[in-house]
Amino acid sequence: MIEILSGIFLLLGTLFILLSAIGILKMPDLYTRMSATTKASTLGIGLVLIGTGIYWQDFGIASRAVAIIVFLFLTAPVAAHIIGRAAYFNKVPLCEKTKTDELGDRRDT
């Protein structure tokens, strides 16, 4: 029973990881690519680690898995924000379908 639950978590997380990989290949510009990788990949890795933690049924393993999950959930938005801010001020081009670019030409000042 536990093994079936763990396998379902593993497959679900793997699906989200595959979706994030497809997203980083197919999305039109850097910012949408970063959106796909940050959110989908964090969710996928969290699900895979939950599956690993409940497969072993051991407190040490579960605490390690929870530590990795908490660390990833804390650091993934910070890293994405740093890269996105540096890219935006380095004038990495936006997708042509972008509706609002609030700074626009004023991003130098």
Partner: protein
């Protein structure tokens, strides 16, 4: 072959496939920012691969490696972002 063995085999295969796809973006990425994002995602996928691999090989030692990889990936991404910001200031 039980369900968990099948699930672990499929997970190893699909995570390896997505690592290949991300490596393609790492090669063709137009700018340096795309390559940094691809490297970040590669290290995140390495964590998931380590977790699945520890079930497949029936050892639990690899999860410590996952913690170290998560720490180093965050440090590397922050350092790259810091130097990108400084490059814009000096132009």
């Amino acid at each position: 072959m039980s369900f968990i063995e099948w699930a672990v085999q499929a997970s190893v295969f699909i995570i390896g496939l997505s690592i290949l796809i991300i490596f393609l973006r790492l090669v063709i990425g137009p700018g340096i920012e795309d390559r940094i994002v691809a490297l970040d995602l590669l290290s995140a996928n390495a964590i998931a691969f380590i977790a699945v691999y520890s079930i497949q090989k029936n050892t639990t030692t690899f999860l410590d490696v996952g913690i170290i990889v998560a720490l180093l990936a965050f440090l590397g991404t922050v350092a790259f972002g810091y130097y990108l910001g400084r490059r814009q200031k000096h132009d």
